[in-house]
């Protein structure tokens, strides 16, 4: 029995180290995507016009494109959903686009397609530039505030592990958006912040356990402590991530087109976050020299938990 436990622990340690290399590779792969392909910025950030409408019968995308060319003076982007009945047309924010403003009315009258307008958005290009700054600022502020909170609450190496894990999560999601070319809009920034929150949630639970075991430690090595902590929290981590992923899947499938990017981001973010809370946030402190008797040495200085 004891031997079996020991074997299991060894496997877990191996798994953690291999996963750490895997995570590093994933980050490099994602960064390559972000840097080479760039993010497919949505209307919120680029500015311009977006018009959404539905047609009663489904239309071939190529057909729709030729139909629209007669009405739209400038180049435009066309996307369709729901079997070619839901359309969105994106135009740049410039004078030429402005001239063809009433195109949808003309188009719906003349094409005979039974068109219902759904949504029309105009965003000035200067607004988009500001949003990029604001979104970036929000992410950075979040990371700094969290780092401060964690260092105050935990040993700094544990805090660093959690922050590295959350950076990993955000970068991987960004990489996914870059490689797949999914529209990156404001709701995605919101989802990234939510991912940061949830990724930490998992890391903190593991960190808490490590601290707890270290406090009542009786000479076990740091490696064993970390493995023990992971094992005793794994059920909880899997259940919570599982129910959360299930609800996100419900949003993805049922909440409609406008939230699909948001759902994709959250889904991958939480999946990756669960993985990184086990492999990165628990392994990094051990690698940068967290010692097993840290809390015993500091007993008098560190405030006891309520």
């Amino acid at each position: 029995m004891n031997n079996f436990l020991l074997n299991q622990t060894e496997t877990l340690s191996k798994f953690r180290v291999i996963s750490l290399y895997f995570a590093a590779a994933l980050v490099i792969f994602s960064l390559t995507g972000v840097l080479s392909k760039g993010l497919n910025l949505g209307l919120d950030f680029t500015g311009g016009y977006l018009t959404e409408f539905t047609t009663q019968e489904s239309v071939n995308k190529a057909d729709m494109e030729t139909l629209l060319t007669d009405y739209l003076p400038d180049t435009f982007g066309l996307a369709s959903a729901e079997n070619g009945t839901h359309w969105s047309v994106q135009q740049a924010d410039n004078d030429i686009s402005l001239k063809g403003k009433s195109w949808l009315t003309d188009f719906s009258q003349q094409s005979g397609l039974n068109i219902t307008p759904q949504d029309s958005i105009y965003i000035g290009s200067q607004v988009g530039d500001e949003l990029i700054d604001q979104g970036g600022l929000a992410l950075i502020t979040a990371v700094i505030v969290i780092l401060l909170y964690l260092s105050f609450r935990f040993e700094w190496r544990l805090a660093a592990g959690s922050v590295i894990a959350l950076c990993h999560d955000v970068i991987v999601v960004l990489g996914l958006f870059a490689w797949l070319g999914i529209k990156f809009d404001l709701t995605i920034v919101a989802s990234l912040l939510a991912i940061i929150g949830y990724s930490l949630n998992d890391s903190i639970i593991v960190g808490d356990k490590i601290r707890e075991i270290m406090k009542r430690n009786s000479g076990a090595s740091i490696e064993n402590i970390v493995n023990l902590a992971i094992k005793s929290t794994i059920v909880r981590t899997l259940i919570t991530s599982g129910t959360t992923l299930a609800t996100i899947l419900a949003i993805w499938i049922f909440a409609g087109e406008s939230l699909s990017g948001f759902a994709i981001s959250l889904f991958t973010g939480i999946l990756i976050g669960t993985f990184s809370s086990i492999t990165i946030s628990a392994t990094v402190p051990q690698l940068i020299g967290l010692s097993a008797d840290y809390y015993n040495k500091q007993e008098e200085e560190v405030c006891a938990l309520p």
Partner: protein
């Protein structure tokens, strides 16, 4: 000894339970109004008591002929109330009814909540829906405060010239190098050193600081602090004007708020034609009143041409601007001439009183200015003379502009004056119009995702934890109700589509609290504790971990709330409130429920046999 401690403990729990039950009841009652929807009712009020009441059948056939669906028609002695099933039909139905029945009935529409009377007495409100759920129009305006500051300084520069002539000082040049300073060149160093002009300027414009550049040059500047103050005042003024204009449009549910440093966000739910609203909101018009210049040689003169091509020369100093007008109504004078009756605020009233006392019998010019962007995207100001009217007597806070050419013109002027004028030019930088049908689809989809998300979670929790899972499920349901109640209670919370996603996400995450506690209890049971003590220990010890895990999510939620607008803000609010309610129901409510349902040490709990 042991006994007394136990008693104390029981007392403490009782008191705690009462508080929990009270909070839950309060939340449930607050959430209740969301079950009832707003219904639009069109009332036909009988103008003439002799006239015959129109029957319900008649109205029904009339509406059915035009494919307009309704829920209910109620007739009483004097009124007929028609409850619409679709709010979008309001305009069509009103138009139809007024065409058919306006001779003997007056038509008015009221929005009423269908909640029972006792609930209405408690003043509960349902959650406000964001634009993406209710449909409507959104505008984000950019207010050019820099331009307003520049214009203000141009006015001051002209004033300085007038003051110089009044005090017989010759200036060689008055320049405006940037938008916060004026450089005055005196023709001789002696005139500068006498200082009469400078002290005069100090008296009129105490907010300007004066600095001597060299022997005959002085620079007047707005300090950094004054500039900030001016920008803030301009924003407040513009916000006020916008609210006034929206009120004039008859939109009551509008949200008008400052966004960032110099933006204004206007949300108009229920508006379907953005162009109409845009014309009034986007009109960057301002009105100013000038005096005709008597002395054609005086400095600081503006020249303009009126409608008839006649050239007018006016004193550059504004008698007062449109921002001081409190009310304006069009009417007809004694001779049947159209006119506009004005009521000024205190400041405007005093200015007008002083000015008119000195200038009875002299003409006053009303100038209408408008900003627009030219081909090169540069803001251009275009002014035109609306009318030249003679001051008949010493005027106070109330007076009329006579000499209007037509009643229409009088009405339009009155509307613009009522709505207030803008000192800073505004441009629309963001506009969105969402159809009501898309909003309704979004709500349907959101509710579908929510119920499926909840369903999966409830089933899983029951299968995995059995009896304790049932407790977690009750806590989860109460969490959702509390969250809805809290959102209905707090003013300024708006439910958006990402907000619904936040709600679904909260459900998924809320079980975390219970999972943490239950896993803890399991661990304690395995270590050999008895059931009751394991439960007690589990709840108490998991709390610090729960707090740690939730605080970080809360931090990101608050940051998101601080920087986000509109839909994103809606997500952030739910994220934060959801953490609060899930901690409340997950820890306190579920502990009370556990204590209530498990009162003695069982032989088995959570699959751990003892």
């Amino acid at each position: 000894m042991m006994n007394s401690r136990n008693k104390k403990h029981v007392k403490h729990t009782k008191w705690q339970n009462i508080v929990i039950i009270f909070i839950l009841l309060f939340m449930i009652v607050s959430a209740l109004p969301n079950l009832y929807s707003d219904k639009l009712t069109v009332n036909l009020v009988n103008n003439n008591s002799q006239a015959e009441q129109v029957s319900a059948q008649e109205i029904n056939t009339l509406l059915a002929k035009n494919n307009l669906a309704i829920d209910e028609i109620r007739t009483s002695a004097s009124t007929t109330s028609i409850t619409l099933s679709n709010e979008a039909d309001q305009k069509a139905i009103e138009k139809l009814l007024s065409a058919e029945l306006s001779d003997s009935f007056s038509i008015e529409s009221v929005t009423e909540n269908t909640a029972p009377t006792w609930l209405k007495m408690l003043h509960g409100q349902p959650i406000k829906l964001g634009l993406d759920l209710s449909g409507g129009v959104l505008f984000v305006l950019d207010v050019d405060t820099e331009r307003a500051l520049f214009d203000k300084l141009t006015g001051i520069a002209l004033d300085v010239k007038t003051l110089a002539i009044d005090s017989r000082i010759r200036l060689s040049k008055v320049a405006q190098p940037d938008n916060h300073s004026i450089v005055i060149n005196f023709s001789s160093a002696k005139q500068l050193s006498e200082g009469t002009l400078l002290s005069e300027i100090k008296k009129t414009y105490p907010e300007l600081s004066q600095n001597k550049l060299d022997d005959n040059q002085v620079v007047l500047t707005y300090s950094e602090k004054e500039q900030v103050l001016f920008r803030q005042e301009t924003m407040t003024q513009t916000l006020k004007t916008m609210r006034g204009r929206i009120e004039e449009l008859g939109i009551t549910e509008a949200v008008t708020q400052k966004q960032g440093k110099n933006r204004i966000r206007i949300e108009l739910p229920g508006v379907h034609d953005p162009e109409e609203a845009k014309r009034i909101i986007g009109a960057t018009a301002s009105l100013d009143f000038y005096q005709l210049a008597e002395n054609s040689k005086a400095a600081g003169i503006i020249q303009m041409t009126d409608k008839n091509g006649q050239r007018l020369r006016m004193n550059s100093q504004v008698v007062f601007s449109g921002s001081h007008i409190k009310n304006a109504r069009s009417g007809v004078g004694k001779m049947g001439m159209p006119l506009v009756n004005l009521t000024l605020d205190d400041v405007g009233g005093k200015q007008m009183s002083n000015f008119s006392k000195k200038n009875i019998g002299k003409p006053m010019v009303t100038v209408f200015s408008e900003f627009y962007r030219d081909v090169n995207d540069v803001m251009v100001k275009k002014s035109k003379v609306i009318n030249v009217a003679t001051i008949q007597q010493h005027l106070g806070a109330q007076f009329s502009i006579t000499n209007m050419s037509s009643p229409q013109e009088a009405q339009e002027l009155a509307l613009l004056l009522r709505a207030g004028s803008l000192t800073a030019p505004v441009t629309i930088v963001e506009q969105r119009s969402i159809e009501a049908t898309l909003g309704a689809d979004n709500i349907d989809n959101g509710i579908k995702a929510l119920s499926i998300g909840i369903g999966i979670t409830l089933v899983f929790m029951f299968v995995w934890y059995r009896s304790l899972g049932l407790i977690a499920n009750v806590a989860l349901a109460l969490n959702l109700v509390s969250l809805l109640g809290l959102m209905s209670l707090l003013p300024g919370t708006v439910l958006t589509l990402p907000g619904i996603a936040g709600l679904v996400l909260t459900v998924g995450m809320a079980v975390d609290t219970n999972v943490l506690i239950f896993e803890r209890i399991k661990e304690e049971l395995k270590r050999g504790r008895k059931v009751l003590s394991a439960i007690e220990y589990g709840y108490n010890n998991a709390f610090s971990t729960i707090l740690d895990a939730n605080i970080t999510t809360m931090i990101t939620g608050i940051i998101l709330y601080a920087i986000g607008y509109g839909a994103v803000k809606g997500f952030a609010i739910i994220l934060c409130l959801g953490i609060l309610t899930s901690m409340f129901t997950g820890v306190f409510v579920s502990k009370a429920l556990t204590n209530f349902s498990i009162r003695e040490n069982k032989s088995q709990l959570l699959g751990v046999k003892l």
